[in-house]
Assembly symmetry: C2
Homo-oligomer: 202 residues x 2
């Protein structure tokens, strides 16, 4: 079944993270498009899923890699706009991707697009808003990865993205997400919607 | 005892990470100098220690913060060279800082200097070498945080820093460190040096 050959000797025994790789949170990573030379490194992440943000089909060798490691692939096809005057990425799609992202059952998860700058930067930016980061810190992080290629449109998208609705939905359905930290599971089940035990008087 | 007032209302309810903040690894963070406005965010990290890389005394309000949260402060006074032709940072000091950094008893730990670019970048770079990252990825990460302020001297320092001796020392004394991942504790106790239980024949 496994058609993936991870030739560490090709990499001279060293690990090669994908371009623009970083840890976002415990169990959440981001990067540019992973090449076969990155597969050895990716193995060390023990990924359970990948959030892939491009509309193009996943290359066969990457499909083989995810198959061989039982990694769930979530694809959200967002066009990579190069025209800075064009409309921003669709917020509905980002909301759907966020739902996958914050579900710990999908962790460890890698988010990637092509360069790990714009689409990935927008998704991570919206995630930071969910974590109640102040906007200037969110922008700083976005720009760190986008570098000189940062787009005003992306910042506007992040700024206007509405997290309140998603947060309220999460309070009810899954968990409350806030902050980093190894006082692990900053995910708290919301009180609302939890069935209280019924007290019977005998 | 606690003289620290973390006024979240001052931040309008949002969390403000220190400048140049990022997660390095599970339980390891990096940033520029934390200001009082960042204390609310830092609380979410549940830090056990801070590695501070400047020779200047820690400001009183930061001292109050670490005292109030029982955070251990490890100071390694490295001069912040602005003259790019001057000699690089002392490798002995970086080795000592690395020993503190990779000891999970000190985690979660925050590394910071002034801007989170050079001294912090060098320490993280050496840490990545310990993790057997390829040098080009180490440099990419260093430059992401240093931006246009990156220094050729720092890259040379990272490149020539000798991790082999430290790694062998760790194999014997503490643990083997490799890779990310939430297949947690990638730290393995070395076989050597562990006292075997003595079997007595009766």
């Amino acid at each position: 079944m496994c058609m993936v050959k991870v030739d560490d000797e090709e990499n001279d025994g060293v690990l090669v993270p994908p371009a623009n790789f970083s840890m976002v949170e415990d169990g959440i990573f981001r990067s540019g498009f992973p090449e076969p030379s990155n597969f050895g490194f990716l193995e060390t992440l023990n990924l359970r899923s990948i959030i892939y943000l491009c509309p193009e089909a996943y290359p066969q060798e990457n499909m083989d890699f995810v198959d061989a490691h039982n990694i769930k692939l979530f694809q959200f096809g967002i066009e990579g706009k190069t025209d800075s005057s064009s409309t921003s990425i669709p917020s509905y799609t980002v909301t759907e991707a966020l739902k996958v992202l914050i579900d710990v059952r999908n962790h460890p998860v890698l988010i990637h697009c092509k360069r790990g700058k714009h689409r990935t930067g927008c998704l991570v930016g919206c995630f930071r808003k969910l974590q109640t980061w102040c906007l200037s810190s969110v922008f700083e992080e976005y720009k760190r990865f986008a570098g000189v290629k940062w787009r005003a449109n992306d910042l506007r998208f992040i700024e206007t993205f509405e997290v309140m609705c998603l947060r309220q939905c999460l309070y009810r359905i899954i968990y409350q997400y806030q902050g980093y930290g190894s006082n692990k599971r900053r995910l708290l089940y919301g009180e609302e919607g939890i069935q209280k035990p019924k007290i019977k008087s005998i």
